[in-house]
Symmetry: C2
Subunit: 168 residues, 2 copies
Protein backbone atom coordinates (compact mmCIF):
# COMPACT_ATOMS: atom_id res chain seq x y z
CA UNK A 1 0.00 0.00 0.00
CA UNK A 2 1.41 3.38 -1.00
CA UNK A 3 0.68 6.26 1.32
CA UNK A 4 0.60 9.71 -0.16
CA UNK A 5 1.69 11.92 2.69
CA UNK A 6 0.35 15.00 0.98
CA UNK A 7 -3.20 13.69 1.41
CA UNK A 8 -5.19 15.75 3.84
CA UNK A 9 -5.63 13.54 6.89
CA UNK A 10 -9.18 12.96 8.08
CA UNK A 11 -10.34 13.97 11.52
CA UNK A 12 -10.08 10.40 12.69
CA UNK A 13 -6.44 10.16 11.60
CA UNK A 14 -5.21 13.51 12.75
CA UNK A 15 -6.44 14.89 16.05
CA UNK A 16 -4.18 17.89 15.63
CA UNK A 17 -6.05 19.50 12.72
CA UNK A 18 -7.40 22.98 13.40
CA UNK A 19 -10.65 22.99 15.37
CA UNK A 20 -13.73 24.03 13.43
CA UNK A 21 -15.67 27.15 14.42
CA UNK A 22 -18.82 25.07 14.98
CA UNK A 23 -16.99 22.65 17.27
CA UNK A 24 -15.67 25.61 19.28
CA UNK A 25 -19.19 27.04 19.63
CA UNK A 26 -20.53 23.67 20.82
CA UNK A 27 -17.70 23.22 23.30
CA UNK A 28 -18.02 26.76 24.66
CA UNK A 29 -21.82 26.32 24.89
CA UNK A 30 -20.99 23.50 27.30
CA UNK A 31 -17.78 24.58 29.00
CA UNK A 32 -17.20 28.27 28.40
CA UNK A 33 -17.78 31.13 30.78
CA UNK A 34 -18.34 34.82 30.14
CA UNK A 35 -17.51 36.80 33.18
CA UNK A 36 -17.62 40.41 34.35
CA UNK A 37 -15.84 41.23 37.60
CA UNK A 38 -16.34 44.60 39.31
CA UNK A 39 -13.73 45.14 41.95
CA UNK A 40 -13.01 47.94 44.41
CA UNK A 41 -9.98 49.81 43.18
CA UNK A 42 -9.55 53.22 44.88
CA UNK A 43 -6.71 54.23 42.55
CA UNK A 44 -8.98 54.11 39.49
CA UNK A 45 -11.09 56.96 38.10
CA UNK A 46 -14.42 55.62 39.34
CA UNK A 47 -13.04 53.75 42.35
CA UNK A 48 -14.04 50.46 40.72
CA UNK A 49 -12.31 48.26 38.18
CA UNK A 50 -14.40 46.43 35.59
CA UNK A 51 -12.63 43.20 34.67
CA UNK A 52 -14.36 41.12 32.00
CA UNK A 53 -12.95 37.77 31.02
CA UNK A 54 -13.74 34.77 28.88
CA UNK A 55 -12.59 31.38 30.07
CA UNK A 56 -12.81 27.69 29.51
CA UNK A 57 -11.95 25.42 32.43
CA UNK A 58 -10.92 21.77 32.07
CA UNK A 59 -9.40 19.05 34.21
CA UNK A 60 -5.61 19.11 33.79
CA UNK A 61 -5.73 15.75 32.01
CA UNK A 62 -7.41 17.62 29.14
CA UNK A 63 -5.08 20.61 28.96
CA UNK A 64 -4.35 19.62 25.34
CA UNK A 65 -7.78 20.84 24.27
CA UNK A 66 -7.13 24.22 25.94
CA UNK A 67 -3.93 24.45 23.90
CA UNK A 68 -5.88 23.75 20.74
CA UNK A 69 -8.43 26.42 21.66
CA UNK A 70 -5.53 28.80 22.31
CA UNK A 71 -4.23 27.97 18.85
CA UNK A 72 -7.68 28.50 17.38
CA UNK A 73 -8.16 31.97 18.83
CA UNK A 74 -4.51 32.92 18.60
CA UNK A 75 -4.38 34.36 22.11
CA UNK A 76 -5.24 33.75 25.76
CA UNK A 77 -3.36 32.40 28.74
CA UNK A 78 -3.39 28.86 30.03
CA UNK A 79 -3.10 28.84 33.79
CA UNK A 80 -4.19 26.92 36.88
CA UNK A 81 -7.82 27.52 37.75
CA UNK A 82 -8.08 25.63 41.03
CA UNK A 83 -6.46 22.41 42.21
CA UNK A 84 -6.24 20.01 39.28
CA UNK A 85 -8.19 22.28 36.94
CA UNK A 86 -6.64 24.40 34.20
CA UNK A 87 -8.17 27.31 32.35
CA UNK A 88 -7.74 29.16 29.11
CA UNK A 89 -8.36 32.79 30.01
CA UNK A 90 -8.77 35.78 27.74
CA UNK A 91 -8.60 39.31 29.18
CA UNK A 92 -8.14 42.73 27.66
CA UNK A 93 -10.65 44.71 25.65
CA UNK A 94 -9.01 44.19 22.26
CA UNK A 95 -8.88 40.43 22.50
CA UNK A 96 -12.29 40.21 24.12
CA UNK A 97 -13.64 42.26 21.21
CA UNK A 98 -12.34 39.53 18.91
CA UNK A 99 -14.08 36.92 21.08
CA UNK A 100 -17.30 38.94 20.80
CA UNK A 101 -16.93 39.18 17.02
CA UNK A 102 -16.43 35.44 16.81
CA UNK A 103 -19.55 34.55 18.83
CA UNK A 104 -21.63 37.12 16.94
CA UNK A 105 -20.65 35.41 13.70
CA UNK A 106 -21.13 31.93 15.22
CA UNK A 107 -23.97 32.20 17.73
CA UNK A 108 -24.19 30.09 20.87
CA UNK A 109 -27.21 27.74 21.06
CA UNK A 110 -27.75 27.32 24.79
CA UNK A 111 -29.08 29.82 27.33
CA UNK A 112 -25.44 30.85 27.71
CA UNK A 113 -26.17 33.10 24.77
CA UNK A 114 -28.05 35.58 26.95
CA UNK A 115 -25.01 35.86 29.24
CA UNK A 116 -22.88 36.37 26.17
CA UNK A 117 -25.19 39.14 24.94
CA UNK A 118 -24.74 41.03 28.23
CA UNK A 119 -21.01 40.38 28.10
CA UNK A 120 -20.81 41.70 24.52
CA UNK A 121 -22.65 44.86 25.55
CA UNK A 122 -20.19 45.41 28.40
CA UNK A 123 -17.22 44.98 26.04
CA UNK A 124 -18.72 47.41 23.54
CA UNK A 125 -19.35 49.96 26.30
CA UNK A 126 -15.78 49.61 27.54
CA UNK A 127 -14.46 50.19 24.03
CA UNK A 128 -16.25 53.55 24.18
CA UNK A 129 -14.81 54.24 27.64
CA UNK A 130 -18.28 54.17 29.22
CA UNK A 131 -16.99 52.30 32.27
CA UNK A 132 -15.19 55.51 33.22
CA UNK A 133 -18.46 57.37 33.84
CA UNK A 134 -20.84 56.86 36.78
CA UNK A 135 -23.76 56.23 34.44
CA UNK A 136 -21.82 53.71 32.36
CA UNK A 137 -20.54 51.90 35.42
CA UNK A 138 -24.07 51.61 36.78
CA UNK A 139 -25.30 50.17 33.48
CA UNK A 140 -22.44 47.66 33.45
CA UNK A 141 -23.34 46.65 36.98
CA UNK A 142 -26.91 45.96 35.84
CA UNK A 143 -25.75 43.99 32.82
CA UNK A 144 -23.42 41.94 35.03
CA UNK A 145 -26.29 41.21 37.41
CA UNK A 146 -28.40 39.90 34.50
CA UNK A 147 -25.77 37.37 33.54
CA UNK A 148 -26.35 33.81 34.67
CA UNK A 149 -25.80 33.15 38.30
CA UNK A 150 -25.17 29.98 40.18
CA UNK A 151 -23.42 28.63 43.22
CA UNK A 152 -20.11 29.07 41.40
CA UNK A 153 -20.91 32.61 40.39
CA UNK A 154 -22.09 34.39 43.50
CA UNK A 155 -23.68 37.69 42.71
CA UNK A 156 -21.55 40.24 44.47
CA UNK A 157 -21.70 43.49 42.56
CA UNK A 158 -19.35 46.15 43.84
CA UNK A 159 -17.54 43.68 46.06
CA UNK A 160 -15.16 45.13 48.63
CA UNK A 161 -12.63 42.39 48.01
CA UNK A 162 -11.30 41.55 44.57
CA UNK A 163 -13.79 38.83 43.72
CA UNK A 164 -15.76 38.48 40.54
CA UNK A 165 -19.25 39.81 40.67
CA UNK A 166 -21.10 37.94 37.98
CA UNK A 167 -20.52 35.28 35.44
CA UNK A 168 -22.36 32.98 33.11
CA UNK B 1 -37.21 47.16 3.06
CA UNK B 2 -38.76 44.08 1.50
CA UNK B 3 -38.28 40.83 3.41
CA UNK B 4 -38.26 37.65 1.42
CA UNK B 5 -39.55 35.06 3.84
CA UNK B 6 -38.19 32.23 1.75
CA UNK B 7 -34.63 33.33 2.55
CA UNK B 8 -32.79 30.88 4.72
CA UNK B 9 -32.55 32.53 8.12
CA UNK B 10 -29.07 32.93 9.54
CA UNK B 11 -28.06 31.30 12.79
CA UNK B 12 -28.40 34.61 14.58
CA UNK B 13 -31.98 35.06 13.38
CA UNK B 14 -33.25 31.58 13.90
CA UNK B 15 -32.14 29.67 16.95
CA UNK B 16 -34.36 26.77 15.98
CA UNK B 17 -32.40 25.70 12.91
CA UNK B 18 -31.07 22.14 12.97
CA UNK B 19 -27.89 21.77 15.01
CA UNK B 20 -24.75 21.10 13.00
CA UNK B 21 -22.82 17.86 13.46
CA UNK B 22 -19.70 19.78 14.48
CA UNK B 23 -21.59 21.74 17.13
CA UNK B 24 -22.97 18.48 18.52
CA UNK B 25 -19.45 17.00 18.71
CA UNK B 26 -18.17 20.09 20.53
CA UNK B 27 -21.06 20.10 22.97
CA UNK B 28 -20.77 16.37 23.66
CA UNK B 29 -16.99 16.74 24.08
CA UNK B 30 -17.88 19.06 26.94
CA UNK B 31 -21.14 17.71 28.32
CA UNK B 32 -21.70 14.19 27.04
CA UNK B 33 -21.18 10.93 28.89
CA UNK B 34 -20.59 7.42 27.57
CA UNK B 35 -21.51 4.91 30.20
CA UNK B 36 -21.44 1.15 30.67
CA UNK B 37 -23.30 -0.25 33.66
CA UNK B 38 -22.85 -3.89 34.72
CA UNK B 39 -25.54 -4.91 37.16
CA UNK B 40 -26.30 -8.13 39.02
CA UNK B 41 -29.31 -9.72 37.37
CA UNK B 42 -29.78 -13.38 38.40
CA UNK B 43 -32.55 -13.94 35.85
CA UNK B 44 -30.18 -13.26 32.93
CA UNK B 45 -28.04 -15.80 31.10
CA UNK B 46 -24.76 -14.75 32.66
CA UNK B 47 -26.21 -13.45 35.92
CA UNK B 48 -25.18 -9.91 34.93
CA UNK B 49 -26.83 -7.27 32.80
CA UNK B 50 -24.70 -4.97 30.67
CA UNK B 51 -26.43 -1.62 30.33
CA UNK B 52 -24.64 0.90 28.13
CA UNK B 53 -26.00 4.38 27.76
CA UNK B 54 -25.15 7.72 26.23
CA UNK B 55 -26.35 10.84 27.98
CA UNK B 56 -26.12 14.58 28.12
CA UNK B 57 -27.05 16.29 31.38
CA UNK B 58 -28.08 19.95 31.66
CA UNK B 59 -29.68 22.22 34.21
CA UNK B 60 -33.46 22.26 33.68
CA UNK B 61 -33.27 25.89 32.53
CA UNK B 62 -31.51 24.56 29.44
CA UNK B 63 -33.85 21.67 28.65
CA UNK B 64 -34.47 23.31 25.23
CA UNK B 65 -31.01 22.29 24.06
CA UNK B 66 -31.70 18.67 25.07
CA UNK B 67 -34.84 18.81 22.93
CA UNK B 68 -32.80 20.07 20.00
CA UNK B 69 -30.26 17.28 20.51
CA UNK B 70 -33.18 14.82 20.62
CA UNK B 71 -34.39 16.27 17.33
CA UNK B 72 -30.89 16.02 15.88
CA UNK B 73 -30.44 12.34 16.70
CA UNK B 74 -34.09 11.46 16.20
CA UNK B 75 -34.32 9.41 19.38
CA UNK B 76 -33.56 9.33 23.10
CA UNK B 77 -35.52 10.13 26.23
CA UNK B 78 -35.54 13.39 28.15
CA UNK B 79 -35.94 12.71 31.83
CA UNK B 80 -34.95 14.04 35.25
CA UNK B 81 -31.34 13.25 36.11
CA UNK B 82 -31.18 14.52 39.66
CA UNK B 83 -32.82 17.47 41.39
CA UNK B 84 -32.98 20.36 38.93
CA UNK B 85 -30.96 18.56 36.28
CA UNK B 86 -32.42 16.99 33.15
CA UNK B 87 -30.83 14.45 30.84
CA UNK B 88 -31.18 13.23 27.31
CA UNK B 89 -30.57 9.50 27.55
CA UNK B 90 -30.09 6.96 24.79
CA UNK B 91 -30.30 3.25 25.53
CA UNK B 92 -30.70 0.14 23.40
CA UNK B 93 -28.14 -1.44 21.12
CA UNK B 94 -29.68 -0.30 17.85
CA UNK B 95 -29.81 3.35 18.77
CA UNK B 96 -26.45 3.27 20.50
CA UNK B 97 -25.01 1.78 17.31
CA UNK B 98 -26.26 4.88 15.52
CA UNK B 99 -24.58 7.03 18.17
CA UNK B 100 -21.34 5.08 17.61
CA UNK B 101 -21.60 5.55 13.84
CA UNK B 102 -22.12 9.27 14.32
CA UNK B 103 -19.06 9.76 16.55
CA UNK B 104 -16.93 7.56 14.28
CA UNK B 105 -17.81 9.85 11.38
CA UNK B 106 -17.39 12.99 13.53
CA UNK B 107 -14.61 12.26 16.03
CA UNK B 108 -14.50 13.76 19.51
CA UNK B 109 -11.49 16.01 20.20
CA UNK B 110 -11.04 15.76 23.97
CA UNK B 111 -9.78 12.82 26.06
CA UNK B 112 -13.44 11.75 26.12
CA UNK B 113 -12.61 10.07 22.86
CA UNK B 114 -10.79 7.22 24.60
CA UNK B 115 -13.90 6.54 26.70
CA UNK B 116 -15.94 6.61 23.53
CA UNK B 117 -13.58 4.10 21.87
CA UNK B 118 -14.13 1.64 24.75
CA UNK B 119 -17.86 2.32 24.63
CA UNK B 120 -17.95 1.68 20.87
CA UNK B 121 -16.14 -1.63 21.34
CA UNK B 122 -18.69 -2.69 23.98
CA UNK B 123 -21.59 -1.81 21.65
CA UNK B 124 -20.01 -3.75 18.79
CA UNK B 125 -19.45 -6.77 21.04
CA UNK B 126 -23.06 -6.64 22.23
CA UNK B 127 -24.28 -6.55 18.64
CA UNK B 128 -22.48 -9.89 18.23
CA UNK B 129 -24.03 -11.20 21.45
CA UNK B 130 -20.61 -11.43 23.10
CA UNK B 131 -21.98 -10.16 26.41
CA UNK B 132 -23.82 -13.49 26.71
CA UNK B 133 -20.55 -15.44 27.07
CA UNK B 134 -18.27 -15.50 30.11
CA UNK B 135 -15.27 -14.47 28.04
CA UNK B 136 -17.15 -11.60 26.38
CA UNK B 137 -18.54 -10.36 29.68
CA UNK B 138 -15.04 -10.34 31.18
CA UNK B 139 -13.71 -8.34 28.24
CA UNK B 140 -16.58 -5.85 28.58
CA UNK B 141 -15.79 -5.50 32.28
CA UNK B 142 -12.18 -4.64 31.38
CA UNK B 143 -13.26 -2.13 28.73
CA UNK B 144 -15.65 -0.52 31.22
CA UNK B 145 -12.84 -0.25 33.77
CA UNK B 146 -10.66 1.55 31.21
CA UNK B 147 -13.26 4.23 30.66
CA UNK B 148 -12.71 7.54 32.48
CA UNK B 149 -13.38 7.49 36.15
CA UNK B 150 -14.11 10.26 38.54
CA UNK B 151 -15.93 11.03 41.75
CA UNK B 152 -19.20 10.96 39.82
CA UNK B 153 -18.40 7.67 38.18
CA UNK B 154 -17.26 5.33 40.93
CA UNK B 155 -15.65 2.24 39.55
CA UNK B 156 -17.77 -0.61 40.80
CA UNK B 157 -17.56 -3.44 38.30
CA UNK B 158 -19.93 -6.30 38.98
CA UNK B 159 -21.80 -4.26 41.55
CA UNK B 160 -24.25 -6.15 43.74
CA UNK B 161 -26.74 -3.34 43.57
CA UNK B 162 -27.95 -1.87 40.30
CA UNK B 163 -25.46 0.94 40.03
CA UNK B 164 -23.41 1.89 37.03
CA UNK B 165 -19.93 0.55 36.96
CA UNK B 166 -18.03 2.89 34.73
CA UNK B 167 -18.52 5.99 32.69
CA UNK B 168 -16.62 8.71 30.93
Amino acid sequence: MVLDRSDKPTGADNQQERLSAEWVVGFVDGEGCFFVGINRQPSMTMGWQVLPEFRVVQHEKDVAILKRLHEFFGFGQITTNHGDRKELRVRGIERLSEIVRFFRAHPLRTVKRSSFDCFAEVIEMMQQGDHLTAEGLEKIRKLASRMNRGAQNPQRPYARTPVVSAGG
